[in-house]
Symmetry: C2
């Protein structure tokens, strides 16, 4: 069994990262409340540095390194928000960051990682090539690998978003968070259940990438099989560690259709005038799809990020 953070670990992480992250605002929308028949509190991690909650975990991982390890830098293979987050966290500590990305990664993502000063190594777009390339870099540099979610310090960092939300609104009945690899959801559940044992915590994922839901229902860790969803941050599979936390502390996992995700995303853009990525819309979509079960509740929604390609949006006229 791998190490599972306690609430004390999350508190310590929060002390570590607080001077470096944004304490993001919590927004509300009377309009969406009316639609939901509930009172919703949106924790806006789209306003976090690098535009995603990932900066919390990456910063905690980077700042938790001893001086000697830090001197060798950090490394990851990722094409998403975690790579940008790790790159910026490393730059802010003045250490190196090595990122392995598939040659096929979208240019805006490559540009973001490069913008934050990471050294990028391109590989073939297969998990095998990613892992082998990362291994080569690590043996050459001695860099510490920071996994996007299967990492103790990363989970502690991600849990600080829910901690802030509950510090500000202690009387929430439930919290909805998206689940991909489970770093955010397990951190959220650990923090929320420690702060308020009666709170319910729900994971939310695309029906087209429903490995967490299937794993949760069967009690067996099942991988993501050919996931295909606009919620591109939620394609990954749970790890043993995140699955252990989720089984122990999460109340249920909801799946939502692509159409529900798109409608929830459009709703937030239109009514709240903020930009969220499809992965963030999954949590609101789950609440709206199941709103009859949450009438009159006070629910927290973790808006995980706001990085979208504005020149290639999923909205269609008509």
């Amino acid at each position: 069994m791998q190490d599972i953070p306690t609430f004390q670990d999350i508190q310590k992480a929060h002390k570590t990262i607080a001077p470096h992250i944004h304490r993001t605002p919590v927004m509300t929308s009377m309009n969406i409340n009316q639609l939901a028949g509930a009172e919703l509190f949106f924790k806006c991690e789209n306003f976090q540095k690098v535009g995603a909650f990932k900066y919390r975990g990456a910063t905690n991982a980077v700042l938790s390194l001893g001086a000697q390890d830090a001197g060798n830098g950090v490394a990851t293979h990722s094409s998403g928000n975690h790579a940008a987050a790790l790159a910026l966290a490393a730059r802010n500590r003045g250490i190196k960051c090595f990122v392995v990305m598939p040659r096929t990664a979208p240019k805006p993502k490559i540009d973001a990682v490069r913008h934050y000063g990471a050294e990028i190594t391109f590989c073939e777009p297969t998990l095998k090539s990613r892992e082998e390339t990362l291994e080569t870099i690590v043996s050459r540099t001695g860099a510490t690998v920071v996994h996007p979610y299967d990492n103790f310090r990363v989970i502690c960092g991600q849990g600080t978003a829910a901690k802030e939300l509950l510090e500000e609104f202690p009387d929430l009945d439930s919290i909805f968070a998206p689940v991909g690899g489970g770093g955010l959801l397990s951190g959220t559940a650990l923090a929320a259940k420690s702060m308020k044992p009666s709170i319910r915590v729900y994971g939310c994922e695309p029906a087209n990438a429903d490995d967490a839901c299937r794993s949760f229902r069967t009690g067996q860790l099942l991988p993501s099989v050919n996931p295909k969803t606009i919620a591109d941050g939620l394609l990954t599979s749970l790890s043993e560690r995140t699955f252990t936390v989720i089984r122990a502390h999460v109340d249920d996992i909801f799946t939502v259709s692509e159409e529900s995700i798109l409608q929830a995303m459009l709703l937030v853009w239109q009514r709240m005038k903020i930009i969220i990525e499809p992965s963030s819309a999954v949590a609101l979509a789950a609440l709206l799809d199941n709103h009859l079960n949450f009438k009159g509740e006070r629910s927290g929604i973790i808006l995980s990020g706001g990085n979208v390609d504005l020149l290639n949006l999923p909205f269609r006229a008509g």
Copy 2:
């Protein structure tokens, strides 16, 4: 000469409307500060009710009516944010609102006005038809016409956005606001120069709708001629009243290209993760185009609104 508000009038308006409007947040972006070489403070009226500063002026106009006048309702001809703002302000006071709109108005705008409970009368898409139709409605109902900007109470209400901004950040060197009919700009200038006489106030408009700039330069009120710009809130011409205030209290008027507007809008969406309409981007575009003249300044930018048709965005790939 028509009545010009004093700062006392704006203070009174603020007391009147404060319980009914959002005190909108002021946001900053390190990233955009770096690009501008200045410290920018964005007053987020895109988060105002109905998604635009117009709700301030409309609310002040509606709440300033005596009981008897109020009983007859309010009326306007508009196809934009003012109509939606007046409709909601009227509904909140429990009075009628009559809106004249051209048959050709975009469906989302018609829907918004209807959503807020106004009675819509369609007319031909000409100023003549609009005015005649409005006159017919007024003579039938006795409703009070609330002009979108050539109105004492409306100007007072619009000035409260700059008042809030300066209350929160009293040491600004300058404020940039978009100018269409001049309600926002004249309210901004009246409030800002009263609170801090040394502050500079700049109007910002599309080069393709540069009537305010030409009027300012020549000292003669010149109409908008065939304006064509994505900043669809800035197509209107100044009135005698707003021109008088602008000549007296505004330091300069900048014009910007369509390309600059689009780039500034994209920048705010990408870096700040908030949705602003093209008219709002005009103020940032003016500052960025002229950034060499504002190095190291602390500048306020009024983001006037966030109502865009998300199914028909101006961004293009490539």
